[in-house]
């Protein structure tokens, strides 16, 4: 069902943990739907110098969190913002169709963490591009 890459990131998650003095934190998902992702970022000179995640969810959710944090580490905030859910899924060598929402959660988690940082620094939050408004805030768990 899962690619080797997904299993690798699930079995050996990168950047798992918490940053106590994080500059930005983003949480997405909903326990009712079975997945919550929390992304912590540390920012220095507009660059993400450290990133950690905590995830409650399936194998794909954990692997997506792990891969997403790898992809944004060392990137500028602008570069990190551009990393799409597709990029996360592709880096994982694909996700089963029903699990694509896990990569969407990862993208949204990063966006929330970045905007949390921006707001805390008196900056305007960046606007989510259209396309997918897959936030799990509504109770209907989506595919």
């Amino acid at each position: 069902m899962y690619s080797e890459k997904v299993m690798d990131h699930f079995m050996n998650p990168r950047n798992q943990g918490e940053i106590l003095d994080a500059d930005g934190v983003g949480e997405v998902g909903n326990p009712t739907c079975g997945d919550i992702m929390r992304i912590f970022i540390k920012v220095n000179d507009n660059i993400i110098t450290d990133v950690k995640f905590q995830t409650f969810g399936c194998g794909a959710a954990i692997a997506s969190s792990s891969m997403a944090t790898e992809l944004i580490k060392g990137k500028t905030l602008e570069e990190a913002w551009e990393i799409s859910n597709k990029a996360v899924a592709e880096a994982l060598e694909g996700l089963p169709p029903i699990k694509m929402h896990c990569s969407v959660l990862a993208e949204e988690g990063i966006h929330k963490a970045i905007n949390d940082y921006r707001v805390k620094h008196g900056l305007e939050p960046w606007e989510e591009k259209g396309g997918h408004s897959h936030s799990h805030d509504d109770l209907a768990c989506e595919e």
Binding site: P13, G34, T55, C58
Partner: protein, 421 residues
């Protein structure tokens, strides 16, 4: 030392031998998903084999080869009947539990539609029942889905209250496949018989686990499936009490007393016969052993892993079934870790089913969705040992700890707890 010398003398054997040994040692394989299916018993396989290529005659034909097939089917029919307290002529072979359930419900509903259009079932039935009921609802039938209590049992008062003068059929499973809860079947049977309402029970999980007596329990229709009790897949039976008339489901030839068309699955039926005979023999001894293993595993899990709850009934429960929820984690990731450790198990989490909805059974007993997501079902069977139980518990504990360590819900829980202290 003597062995070492021998190996040194034959160096070409050294490498493959070492390799084989290491592979076996690291590939532990513990099957704890007997409610999903079981391994076909070797004696069952052996009994089936001649019926593929040696005695392959079509039972409907007239020559000796065919008569042998026919006799084998009748022998198996006798064994199934004996196992559940029925008469041989009340047993009809099918392709398994799903067909038996579909036939029982659709066959009874359409045969009795002039009498009424109301069917009563429970909210925690297998999908073979629930989806059949939904189909019948599209065809003019009304279905009441009885709720269950927190342990998963149907309350007889709810059944009585749901009966109308249009009620033609009650279908309540004998025991649940996910949480193992056993229903008050004799009470439901007695009540339905008294009211003249047909009573069907899906007993797919029950054969070889609990004694079944269709006559004493006032059961009119009963579904069973061979692969749940060490028989082959693709074969089952529907018991139809003598005098009960239901419509045919499969139309065609005159097999099974003209009630179920299609050339009989002779090897499968032979396998079903041998399997059910073995399944009900020494039932108490076998189930006591499995129950003791299950209880040992359950006690260890509940004692050693905090924030864990048992789902289902403590005593009114299938002997091999264990269903627990671990707070703060999700079941699919738990299954993946257990699979990596060589343990085959199951979960009611949505994320494993492809539907994104957690198990309807766990929701029906009142579990919040997030707790249903963290459920684990282990169903033990004949080949499980004390070592299996001990290994499984150790691995479950490790896996739960590992997933909790990365769970934001657990992090929040720990923070809250340290604030309260």
């Amino acid at each position: 030392m003597k062995n070492e010398h021998t190996i040194a003398d034959t160096p070409h054997l050294l490498e493959p031998q070492t390799y084989t040994h290491d592979t076996m040692a690291s590939q532990k394989s513990i099957y704890m998903d007997h409610s999903a299916t079981t391994a076909t018993d070797s004696a069952v396989v052996e009994a089936m084999l001649p019926w593929f290529s040696i005695n392959y005659g079509n039972p409907s034909s007239l020559y000796r080869l065919a008569r042998e097939s026919k006799a084998a089917i009748e022998d198996a029919r006798g064994k199934v009947a004996k196992a559940i307290g029925a008469k041989p002529e009340e047993i009809y072979f099918t392709s398994g539990g799903t067909e038996s359930d579909n036939w029982a419900l659709k066959g009874a509903a359409f045969a009795l539609q002039k009498k009424g259009n109301h069917i009563i079932t429970s909210a925690i039935e297998h999908h073979a029942i629930l989806h059949t009921c939904q189909y019948l609802e599209k065809h003019g039938f009304q279905v009441t889905y009885l709720p269950v209590d927190e342990f998963g049992q149907v309350r007889i008062e709810d059944l009585k209250a749901a009966i109308t003068d249009k009620t033609i059929l009650v279908s309540v499973m004998f025991a649940n496949n996910e949480i193992g809860t056993i229903q008050p079947i004799p009470e439901i049977g007695a009540f339905c018989r008294e009211r003249g309402i047909l009573f069907h029970t899906d007993a797919v999980q029950v054969i070889g686990n609990l004694p079944v007596d269709v006559a004493a329990m006032n059961i009119d229709l009963l579904s069973l499936s061979a692969h749940k009790f060490y028989g082959p897949k693709g074969v089952g039976a529907l018991y139809i009490r003598k005098g009960v008339r239901i419509d045919n489901y499969l139309h065609g030839g005159g097999q099974e007393h003209r009630k179920r068309a299609g050339t009989e699955n002779v090897p499968g039926i032979v396998g079903l016969g041998v399997a059910i005979e073995k399944a009900v023999a020494d039932l108490d001894v076998k189930t006591s052993r499995i129950r003791a293993l299950r209880d040992a595993l359950l006690d260890r899990i509940l004692h050693e892993i905090p924030n864990t709850r048992l789902n289902g009934h403590r005593t009114m429960r299938l002997p091999g079934n264990l269903n627990v929820s671990f707070e703060f984690i999700e079941g699919e990731s738990l299954l993946l870790l257990l699979d990596h450790a060589g343990i085959a198990a199951s979960t009611g989490s949505a994320c494993s089913s492809g539907s994104l909805e957690p198990s309807h059974v766990l929701l029906a007993i009142g579990l919040p969705a997030e707790v249903a997501h963290g459920s684990l079902r282990l169903t033990l069977g004949v080949e499980n040992t004390e070592e299996d139980v001990s290994y499984a518990c150790d691995e479950i504990k490790k896996a739960v700890e590992r997933l909790r360590a990365m769970s934001p819900l657990y992090a929040d829980y720990l923070k809250k707890r340290s604030c309260n202290v």
